[in-house]
Each structure stands twice: as C-alpha cells, then as structure tokens.
Symmetry: C2
Subunit: 513 residues, 2 copies
C-alpha cells in the first residue's frame, strides 16, 4: 500500500485544507472490489427490499452531518452555502426517491408467461423474467455537484437501489466532502447490520487509480459524470477489457438554446434575463448550461446588448478548482482569437486561485458552421450567441452540432406552429431533453426526467443519470424457465409475496398467478 497523500485546496483562497488523504493504490482497489464481490453474493439472500432501508438510513445520516457538511463543501468547492443547502436537499430527496422505488418493488419489471402443456406443435414452457443487479459497480463522483453527483449522488443511489455494491472513486477536488459522505454510508450500513463491503470510497489524484478500478474484472458497470476526455478514456478502457462492461458517462454538452423570431420580438428582455441567469448559475459549471444561443431573425444584436449588461455587471466567479479555471481561460482565449467571433465580454486575466470573469461571444451562422471549436463545450461562465438570418440558417447550424443533454426553443405568439415543429423535430434528434420556453439548468428529479442524450453528451442515449429510470443502468435481465416456485426470486413467485405490479400473460396486474 502506498504512503502517498494529497490535500484539498480552497479554490477561493488557494489555501491547503487539512487533513491529508491517502492516495489509494492497486491494493486498495483490489480490497474494495473483493469485498464488494463477496457481499454481492451474500445480498442475494437478504430480503429483497434491503436497499430501501439502507438508502433511507443513508439519507438520514447525510442530514445528520449538519452544517459540518456544508462548511466542508463550501471550503472545498467555493459554492455558496445556499446552493449547497439546496443541493443537499436534492441529494437526500433523490436517495429517498430510490428508496421508495425499491420499497414499492415493481421496478424489477417482472414478466410472467405461464405454461401451456396443450400447445401444438410443442408444449409451451413457463417463463418468467425480471431485472437483477449486475454486480459490483464503480461510480466516479463529479466536481460540479459535490453532493448530488458526488460520493452519495444519483449514480451511487441508483446502483445501490438496483442491489449493486458500489465502489466510489471520489473527485479529488473535494476529498473531505467525499469522506463525510462515506462515513455516513458506513454508519448506515453498520446500523442496519448489513455487510460493510456494500460501499467503499477510494480517494486519489492519479489516473491510474481510475483505470485500475474500471479494469478490475469483477466490476460490472461504471457510472461517471465529468469531462468528455476523462469519460471517453474510461469508456475506452472498459470496452477494451477481456470482458467489456458498460460505462454510463455523462460528459460534455453545449445545450443549444434557440430563440425564434416571434419570441425574440415579444420577450427579448425576459429572455436576456433568464438566459444570463441560466448561463451564470453555479458559476456556469452546470452540465446543462446553455453554451450556444441561436437568435433567429432581427433582434439578435439587441439581445446581445441586453445580455452584455447582465453579464458585464457580474462579479468575478470562483470556479471549482484552478484546473477548471485554467481550461476555461484557455478555451475563451481560443474563441477570442477565432476570426469573426466577437468577444463581447471575455476575461483576459485569471483572478486569485480559481477565479475568472464570465464571457460572452457572438458570431454568425456561417462562421459557426465553419469552426468546429465553436461546437465544443466550454465549461464555465460563458455563452456564444449565433446570429441566424432565418430558419434555413438555423437548421443548417443544427445539422452541424453533436449530441447534447438538452435543447431549448423559445417560441412566441408570432412563430408559426409548422415552423416550430420543423425546428423541434431537428432538435429532438440531437438531445436527451427538449425544453420549450424555459432554461435547461435545473434538472427535475422525477420519473419522466431524461438526463442523457446522444454522444458526446453521454456514452448511452438509451439511459439517464437523473430520475427513476437511472436504476436501469445497473441491472441485467434474467429469465427462469419451468422453475419450481420455491426456487424463484420473490418477485416471480406465484403468490406475488411482494405485492408488486407484474405482467402476466401480457396483462399488468398485482394478482397472483
């Protein structure tokens, strides 16, 4: 085991934060995964709703961390207390949502087709299928939501809900926050006398740690939120394994926001306010930040003036860590140097340890289509307004963009429904979530949410990392043919002991077989 350690840094002040954290090495990975593997076999003998009890207990213990969690979170991320308080509520809320889903139980999609001994030419066997946990899962915490996408964020909650033991690789930007969450999980597991191997936190700054975890032969699935480069690297490692596993990576996204001529004419001031707020929310460090704005028709120029007023009056923004800030500045300078991209407001100097100013750019549809760099995410407080003369220019621009988490259209009374339909149709092919007359930041945790989208927004457009459907990433399907009732999992037994909704011979019901 290595003796190496690392520290968190306060991004607002640049000061080193105590204590030191152990840099996990291969031995730690092997120990955590071995424990998770052993525990996985054991959990299959537990009452099927054990994850509900565990998740509820974890939620309670997160709240019990009290202000200490908020303080440490603020020190490590420079995110304001109010934001972290809200994020804590969301984190606890989504853990409890998954607990509720597990307790209700129907999420396993139990499907039963009963036998027919008289069928010709062959008798029909009894077949029953359900979703089962894949096995030990690896989760990579994100820096930008240290609670909701962190150590006990949505990935961990949905993997545990599915019944998978979880090994988390904490984000090195906030190791103290991660450790507090890990302590909460450990206490909850102990209080319920569940096996400790159900959850482990590995901390470290080295890529080798992430690689070792993803390559471990007993890891069966990976949840990740972060940069395209890091997500793709993990995806590639997982695909190249002797036995490949899925990496559900939620990565970069430009989140196109379209303002149609009617909306621009009717609601320019409102949209400028709402858009600026969405761009600046959380320091522009949301995966759903609207990074490219297509203003169609007259009025785009005065929208930019209004945006500039809001964005130009913003105070410097402290980003989550110096490395993100440096990347942001590099990208902003790259754009500033691009011919014919107007830098309306763009920082030329960094501020303090991880500070910067917001940036605003404008260009036209031709330049946008010509310069690939304009179609790549800039992570941080900036947006680019693309002036489109008409709908044809807009559609040509949309043809050139890649997948995003979200796509937004602002529609006014003056916009014809048929025109809007064409735009929406084009947009929905590129994104996981379409929004009309709203803003993409703010991701509702509910049954109908899709926080996903075509590559490079994610590595799997059939999945979501937010909302109840997130649980499906951590399951596989198993069928049982002619299996005696006593040997079937509870969800598939004739008497329906869990009282769940099942599909029996094509009909949804809670009745027994």
């Amino acid at each position: 085991m290595s003796d190496a350690t690392f520290y968190a840094t306060n991004p607002a002040t640049g000061e080193r934060l105590e204590p030191a954290f152990h840099e996990a090495g291969d031995a730690d990975v092997n120990a955590a995964v071995a424990a998770a593997t052993k525990v996985f076999d054991a959990t299959l003998d537990l009452p099927p709703r054990w994850p509900a009890d565990l998740l509820d207990a974890i939620a309670d213990r997160i709240l019990a961390l009290g202000d200490a969690l908020l303080e440490r979170g603020e020190a490590e991320t420079a995110l304001p207390r109010a934001r972290l308080t809200g994020e804590r509520a969301r984190t606890v809320g989504q853990i409890k949502m998954f607990a509720g889903i597990v307790r209700e139980g129907s999420w396993v999609e139990a499907v039963i087709d009963t036998a027919d001994a008289d069928r010709k030419p062959m008798p029909k066997p009894d077949l029953r299928r359900m979703l089962r946990p894949r096995g030990p899962a690896a989760v990579f915490g994100a820096s930008n939501f240290p609670f909701a996408f962190g150590t006990l964020g949505g990935d961990t909650a949905s993997a545990l809900a599915a019944g998978c033991p979880v090994v988390v690789k904490g984000h090195p930007s906030h190791p103290g926050t991660s450790q507090m969450f890990a302590d909460a999980a450990r206490d909850a597991i102990a209080a319920l006398s569940l096996p400790p191997g159900l959850f482990a936190l590995l901390q470290g700054t080295r890529h080798e740690l992430s690689a070792a975890l993803v390559k471990h032969s007993n890891i069966t699935a990976v949840g990740f939120t972060g940069s395209l480069r890091a997500g793709r690297a993990l995806f590639d490692l997982a695909a190249a394994r002797p036995s490949p596993i899925p990496v559900f990576a939620e990565m970069g996204s430009i989140n196109p926001l379209i303002i149609l001529p009617g909306a621009l004419a009717e609601r320019k001031a409102d949209i400028a306010q709402g858009l600026a707020a969405s761009v600046l929310l959380g320091g522009g460090q949301f995966c759903t930040k609207p990074g490219v704005v297509f203003a169609v028709g007259e009025g785009g120029k005065s929208l930019v003036s209004r945006l500039q007023k809001v964005i130009g009056h913003t105070q410097p923004i402290t980003m989550l860590n110096p490395s993100l800030r440096d990347n942001f500045m590099r990208r902003v300078h790259e754009w500033s140097r691009t011919d014919e991209v107007g830098a309306i407001d763009a920082p030329d100097e960094a501020v303090g340890a991880a500070g910067t100013w917001p940036a605003l750019f404008e260009t036209d549809a031709q330049i946008f289509q010509r310069e690939p760099t304009l179609r790549e995410e800039v992570f941080g407080p900036s947006t680019l307004v693309v002036h489109c003369n008409d709908r044809a220019e807009l559609l040509a621009c949309l043809d050139t963009i890649e997948g995003s988490l979200t796509g937004t259209v602002h529609v006014g009374e003056g916009d014809h429904e048929a025109d809007v339909r064409v735009v929406l149709r084009k947009l929905e092919g590129k994104v996981g979530r379409v929004i009309v007359n709203g803003y993409p930041t703010g991701v509702e945790v509910c049954n109908a949410m899709v926080h996903g989208g075509p590559y490079p927004a994610t590595t799997d457009p059939a999945s979501t990392s937010v909302g109840s459907a997130a649980i499906r990433r951590f399951v596989r399907m198993t069928a049982y043919q002619d299996t005696p009732d006593a040997l079937l999992p509870a969800a598939l037994k004739n008497s329906n002991p869990l009282s769940i909704e099942r599909t029996i011979n094509g009909k949804r019901t809670r009745d027994p077989v």
Copy 2:
C-alpha cells in the same frame, strides 16, 4: 462499384449454386445508409403505427414465397425441410408479435409528470418522456437460423418495430435465401407506399464490408448473431468510432447443464435421451446447445454409456458450411489430444463437403478447471460430460466458467431444496436464462424470454435478442419539458390519442392527462 461476385455452395453436395451475387462495396454501404438516414427523418412524420403495417405485410409476403423459400434454404444450408418449415412459422410469428406490440403502442414507456406551479422553492415543470427509435440500424444475419435470425429475423423485426430503418448484411452462406427475404421486404414497403430506404440488403464475403457498415457515422446500433470472434471484432470497431454505438452481439455459449445426484439416480435414461436430442438438434448448431454437462455423484459413467448409445448411432451430420465443419473438427481434435479428456465418440475424418459425425467427451472436475479450452464453445454436434464427485466440485467448476445464454439444472426428488438453491444461485449469476428439468434448445418467443447473458454470451447482459424486450435495443430516451400539446409526439399528448397505457404522476393508466 466493384464487379466482384460470389456464389452459394450446397453444403450437402459441395456444388455451386446459381446465381452469382454482387459483392457489396463501400459505395453500396454509403448508398444504403444514406437512404436509411433520409428515410428516418421522413418516418417521424408518418402515423406512429407504420411499423405494424409494414411488419404484417412483410410476414404475409414471406409466406407468399412458398416452397421456393424452403427449397432455396435447404439447398444453401442442408437444414431439413421440416425444420425450415417450422423456422419459417417462427419467423413469421415473431414478426407478427412485434407488429402487435407496435399496434398496441404502450411499448414506448410513456411517462408523464405534470407541472405544479405552486411547488416550493421552485415551480415544478411538466416533464414527459418516451422511447424513440435510435436511427438507422445495421443487422448481421446468422448462418444457423437462416430465417429466424436471418435477413428478416428477430433483429430486423425488432429494429423495424422500434422505427429504425435497417441495413442488413446477409450471411454469405445463404445469399439466395437472404435475397428472397429482401425481395419480400421490398414488395411490402412498395405495397404500403413507404419509402424504399427503410430496408436494404448488402451481400458479400469480405470482412471489410461488415467493418464499413459498422463504422458508418450514420449507423446508430448493431444487431449481430454469430461467433465470438466476429462479434467481438464488430464490438471493438463500434466502440472505437469517434461516436461509439452499441453492438448487441449474441455470440458463443457453452450452456452448462447440471444433473444433480437425485435426478441422475431417478431419470438417467430419460435425461440421456433428452440431452442427446438437445445436443444433436439442428446438427448441434444451436446457440443454446448444451456443450458441457456436469454429472454430480454416482451414475455419471452410466449416463455417458447411454449417451454414447444414442450419439454413436447417429448418421453423419451435414453442417451449415465447410468452414464451420472444419472449425468443429479442429476443436474436436484439440480436445481429443488433451490429456485425460476421454473421447468417447469423435470423428477423425470429415464427410463430403460439410459433413461430420457427432462427438462425445468426458473428463473430471479437476481437468475441467485446469484446461481453459474445455470452457470454450465448440460449435457443432458435441458435448462434454464432466464428472463431479460432489456439489463442492460442481460449484468449483461453475466458478471457472464465463457467461452463457442458458444454464440448466436437473433436479430429482432425492435432491435437497437447500442444495439445489445454492447451485441455482451460482448458475443464475452466469446465464441469461435458467431452466429446471428441461433442455436449453428451443427458445420460446414471448414476453418473458431472455435470450442474452453475461459476456461472452452477449456484449450486453441487459438485453435480449428474442422476445418482445428485444425492441428495447433499438431505442433511446427523450424527454419533453413544458412542451405545448400540439408539438408533443402522439404518445405524450394530453388526450392520449393512441389509447396506450402510460405512467402519469406515478400511476399506470390509459386515461388522458
């Protein structure tokens, strides 16, 4: 466009079958995918149940091919007429099953969470999600089920059902059969005045053709049934694309079949008969052929004697093509040379163009655990009996095997339920479908079927290539936030114009919003 052509060979006689088929090249791939891409956009404006009409029309036209299809199929595969007649019924049946699923409509998993303007601290938006087709799909036909897993097999049917245009790469063993299916599809599309680009067949013998199809940037998903080597090659190509896509490959499988001591004592003769029939079905060329039999306790030796009687009296078997036969012979000779693996019956010479004899081997638990080659699929008419002294030896053997499509346990009155449970638990972690007191060949097409399993059985243990859930491979998820009713897809509109079952605020219902 290349002028190269190729011919089918009759595996029974070795004779070349007319006519010549064009070897598709890059230009053909590009043309087919371009047409599919253009059509995909257009289909989104069609009434949402168009795939149901198309699938029904295709099924009718397959039947209308009449005896000509059976004759060509027999000439190209050497599969007997009765088998092909049954397979045609299954093929038509599964196409009609998918038509029914599309016509009923609830498969899109419409989920609606309505708005709550009064929610604190933030109003709750209206969110609706559903499954949408991914886009153009590529399907690779298999050789061993020229109808049911062929050009219009389950992969094509489920992809079309999802709403994806399909480009099929036909298996080069039976190009005439593939062409007849393609003609049926083309006629059905024309009769319904649907766009021709919905379906294309590419034929060829070169790996480069498969690679070009999988690497085409507009292909969004791949269905494949075939060998581990070929499936993994396509998977690797797809994962390495700039924009990776899923390859749902159903590949090799040893399909362990366990006979517990009670079953062995009570039903030895029956099991020997049933097992031999399952091993020899379709010339041993089923993906679910029981390739390894674990006989636990006394009685294994006399099971082998009984198996030998059935297998030793079998006539030579003509395999699907000379290359499969040569591979089979190579693997059989490899096993025969392994120390302490007893070759009870094993062919030493090939017969005719693609003929061979069935093979039977036996060994013990120690050798099985020691020799990795014994845990790899042998595609063809053979099986290996592994003698296990007790349950501990059986469990140790099971620990060493990789994923399979199926796992079977034969249980007798004399076997204790607790012991059976331990075996079943171990087995279900390794396979997609557990069977008790039956045989794995014969894959029922129904809602509860899982024809899948952990790698290397497939590349995605969360999916199935048979049964209604197969449609899920070809979809992605899209959410709509605060989108006016007029702009929503029909499945998500307030009035529920398709009368489908939806989940509204957590409740399943066919009611409007």
